[in-house]
Amino acid sequence: MDDIYLVTVVSNIGMISFIALSAYLLLVVGEISFGQQAFFAVSAYGSGIATAMWGWPIWLGLLWGALLAGAAALVVAIPTVRLRGLYFSVATLAFAEMVRLIFEIFTYQVEIDGELVGPDGSDGFRDIRAIYDSNVSAFEYMLIIYGLLAVVLIGFLILERSRLGAIFRMIGEDPMLTEMQGLNVTVYKILAVVMAGVVAGIGGALYAHLATYVEPKIFNVMLGVHALAYGLIGGLGTAFGPLIGVAIDIGLLESIRAISGYRMIVFGGLVALLLIVRPRGLLDEAAVHWLRGRWRELRRATH
């Protein structure tokens, strides 16, 4: 019993990490999105439809969901990336609410073995049973989640050392100066929004298949706000930052019985406190720079 609980919590940390990384990528390019839950939702529905209704294998359903989320992000990105600051934030929030409301009325069902399967508006989408039908245990599924998370995280770490990653950070710090390094800021911002959409999408597809049931209200703005907060708590200097944020919230706060029921208050207070003392999170750029310096020294000393 306890093991199942633990596996569920750890799986949740993994899935939420994807949407945290997604919001983090946009924070790096200097934009606050209140709408990453929309891409999580698009992929949850899209992958669920692919596996439960069209009979696709899970891996293909995941890929399809992530690509669908990326496509949705592209649709959002083209008109909104020229907006800055608050305007971008409001636009992403409006888009996400629009997506949620569309799922409230979206009905698409087919009869499979005498039962209606598929999204049914606000009643949600039941029986996304692909992992149970193929006898994947909860533990094995947790390993799949973390395998994919590792792949995405390695991608982020490669990105951090690359010119593309530097361009994202440059845009986040000074878009005009970045334009004056001969770079088309709009194009790179669209790329960042699409990449963030795909990353959120992977999480959404994984979520739908673990929960077997999704409904529109899961994807409300609080999911997006949490995703943002993880990066702001954990830090914007490295992709490990948002993961630390997730671990603090779900791993630590949710597991301390003494504060159960007050979790959101503690969480909100923590965000407020950190925004004052460490505006770019625990692992901010200066902290990461310092750590890398120590790491280099250590390696030099041991060689």
Binding site: I158, R161, S162, R163, L164, A166, I167, R169, M170, E173, D174, M176, L177, E179, M180, Q181, G182, L183, N184, V185, E285, A286, H289, G293, R296
Partner: protein
């Protein structure tokens, strides 16, 4: 190299540049002086596409760049520094120079370890060496003192080997000793082999580096010629120096 014809730009009814004509020949180093608000930085902003021109033309090597984007103008070979220093504070000194290579032709979005990438990294190191920042290449740029940040900006502007270099108060906020060092750096390292326009209030830096001097006042050019002659003109003394004779 650069030809500016009838260039005007105003902000909310106030003319920052008014029918300005300026031609800069290949290899020429032109000093640009004038009182605060005379349009010097606006001229740089319009040349580099930060602000659009209201009217007039900017031609770089027979190519009209008046309507080009800032990124496009940089790729055509113009680089600049900023009066209000603009560096990436949250990046290291080395990264601040490295970033100017991202848009060079043939540079990929990943940074591998190919021979070409190693050569580009060596180029960054060479520039840092030249401006005297080699020993602090791994320091966060935001933690450098102001004169070093100005040197860093200069190194970054030189990464793409620009044909035209625009320096906006390269010695702003510097002591006389630091100004002299900057003047030597500009004269011996930045300027040779390229065309340059230098905005500066410090006349000793101008006389050290520039062969020609233009004076702007209320967005108009009021003098243009050899520094020694221009600084004797009555209207220049009146506009720029309040009537006093220059000490440079």
């Amino acid at each position: 190299m650069l030809r500016i014809e009838g260039l005007s730009r105003s902000f909310g009814g106030v003319a920052a540049l008014e029918a300005l004509d300026l031609a800069v020949a290949d290899g020429e180093v032109v000093g640009l002086i004038g009182p605060n608000g005379s349009g010097k930085t606006t001229l740089f902003n319009v040349i580099t596409g930060v602000h659009a021109a209201d009217s007039g033309r900017i031609v770089l090597r027979d190519r009209d760049i008046t309507r080009s984007t800032p990124a496009g103008i940089v790729r055509l070979g113009i680089a600049r520094t900023f009066q209000n220093l603009r560096i990436y504070q949250r990046m290291s000194v080395r990264e601040n120079v490295w970033v100017a290579q991202h848009s060079l032709p043939g540079v990929g979005l990943l940074s591998g370890s190919s021979a070409a990438e190693r050569a580009r990294r060596a180029e960054v190191d060479r520039l840092l060496e030249a401006v005297g920042l080699a020993d602090r290449r791994e320091v966060l740029a935001g933690s450098l003192p102001l004169p070093d940040q100005r040197r860093l900006e200069l190194a970054r502007a030189l990464v793409r080997s620009p044909a035209l270099l625009l320096l906006d108060e390269p010695a702003g906020g510097m002591t006389p000793t630091e100004t002299a060092e900057m003047a030597a750096l500009i004269r011996d390292f930045a300027v040779p082999g390229r065309t340059c326009i230098v905005i500066e209030h410090k006349l000793d830096l101008i006389s050290e580096t520039c062969g020609r001097l233009c004076v702007l006042n209320f967005g108009r050019k009021i003098a243009d010629g050899a520094p020694g002659e221009v600084l004797q003109q009555a209207d220049v003394l009146e506009a720029y120096l309040g009537g006093d004779a220059p000490d440079a």
